[in-house]
Symmetry: C2
Subunit: 320 residues, 2 copies
């Protein structure tokens, strides 16, 4: 039985590496693509010129398809879109989808477009506008999140669209892959686990925090202003707490709270400030136990999942 | 292959009906047990005498094992525990586990004790105190919740204890059952889906709300005071918003926020006040589509899950 996500994206395994700002550059993306998955450059707030360079770098590092993740609420979005339309990377994943009207233009350039969604309604609209697949992202994910978890969002989206659904959020091992497929997904996207990949260029201190994190490691900040963000708890979470209280008491603006995050992701991920920077991570960080090359992560996910699926009919003993 | 949860609890299928205050009385619990699962009386804030009557009623309605759910932070807990030690229902599930010291006393009476936990550390402690199994409850659940979702909590708890793990949160169909087993569970607990069971005595207007709910139907209130509760959004959620703001601005106490919920669950579930009452429900309410007898729900869960597991090895196509 062939896999629709593999066919659509022209990849060996239906495993995507989530686009992560200041984390997934051409180095990680190319390593994932060379490993048979789909690596994705996290454009985030990248200036358009840098994005062009990263796309060029990825093309040098791999001959396989890769993607670019764009976040629509980003101030650089318009200029980034110009680069994307000019360079036409094989795939674009689209976060913070304000409007699905940008999809047809990219499709006309031959780009496969995969919106990242946290709710059913937007998945339906995206399909109508020609999206090639939907990345359904559960609230256990890292970074900017929605409210519905992978266990519930995946089957709901899978019931609502006919294009393939790729599950994201809470997946870090073969068991998560099998669970996602049971829930109706035809592919998976992992961010957090790839942060500790050897080819990932984040600061080593950040990788160490990821490897040591337990089940209570992450917290969600800025929920009160409508832009919840999940990251590993540190002093920054305390600063958010304080300002969120001020905001709710009418003593500061939503923008004041939002601005607390300015530069913080870079400070953590690139400069290694694990105390006051923003280490965006999913809850699955508690499942991440070892650093490996990206290709080894993909090979392990595939072999674990295949073994587990093969034994599941007997393991699933639902009768006495 | 035999199932450890079935053997432990002496039931046909490893499917538990979550204890739900003002919802799961002897009527629902007995119907679930008669259907081959484990029905559970939600003791909640029940006076001890009423709990004794409910246990007696369940014994009349079913000859099969059933359980009682006790919530340790409840003011009636001590008196309820006396009833439980006297009546010795086959199973007790224990919510809001403040201390695991109550476990040995119940075990000495032959009661199987299953703590409901939202974190790894308490699961480990409960196992050391003799718990028979762990119910790992993800944050997509209804009512009082933790922060870690089923996708992440289930495998973490399963790795941390050697007694069986029963997954709860976000499960409402056969796909959810298969996903839970893939993640390491050996049983499942469902609350929300059983609210619409024909034998469930909640107000019909509440059942209708459950059947119509979509993916954005629930909201979490009272997170700021450390007791997050998930329920279907209605005017009460707005009232909470307002008082949570006051609390964060130092204009009222945590108790004031907590007291907003007093009597609200009963008003919704028994009296049918769907506008201002508290309709506690999990995110899986969006997956609940039809009212059925409890036994039919269980039979459907088993057959759906078995079919899906049988086809999963071929459906899980991870190679091109």
């Amino acid at each position: 039985m062939s896999n629709r996500v593999c066919e659509l994206l022209d990849i060996e395994h239906p495993i995507l590496q989530g686009g992560m700002t200041w984390v997934s550059d051409a180095s990680l993306a190319a390593a994932v693509s060379n490993g048979g998955g789909l690596g994705i450059i996290g454009a985030g707030a990248m200036p358009a010129d840098l994005l062009r360079q990263e796309i060029a770098a990825a093309r040098k590092l791999t001959s396989r398809p890769f993607g670019v993740n764009l976040i629509m609420i980003n101030p650089e979005f318009e200029q980034q879109m110009e680069v994307v339309l000019a360079e036409a990377p094989p795939v674009v994943t689209l976060g913070a989808v304000k409007s699905t009207a940008v999809i047809p233009g990219m499709k006309a350039r031959g780009i496969k477009v995969l919106p990242v969604v946290a709710a059913v309604a937007i998945a339906r609209r995206a399909e109508q506008q020609g999206a090639d697949a939907i990345i359904a992202e559960g609230s256990e994910s890292g970074g900017h999140i929605g409210e519905t978890t992978t266990m519930v969002l995946t089957p709901l989206v899978a019931r609502s669209v006919s294009i393939p659904v790729i599950a994201a959020g809470g997946i870090a091992d073969g068991a998560g892959v099998v669970a996602a497929f049971a829930l109706g997904a035809e592919g998976v996207q992992l961010g957090t686990r790839f942060v500790v990949a050897e080819e990932c260029t984040v600061h080593p201190d950040v990788k160490e925090k990821f490897l040591k994190a337990g089940d209570r490691a992450t917290a969600v900040t800025a929920r009160c202003i409508g832009y919840p963000v999940r990251a590993i708890k540190n002093r920054l979470a305390g600063v958010y707490d304080e300002w969120e209280r001020k905001y709710l008491a009418g003593q500061c603006s939503a923008m004041d709270v939002e601005n607390l995050g300015l530069g913080k992701l870079r400070e953590a991920m690139r400069d290694g400030d694990t105390k006051e920077g923003s280490m965006m991570a999913g809850q699955s960080v508690a499942l991440v136990e070892k650093a490996q090359p990206a290709a080894a992560i993909i090979a392990e996910l595939v072999s674990e999942a295949e073994s587990l699926a093969a034994e599941l009919p007997s393991r699933l003993s639902l009768r006495r």
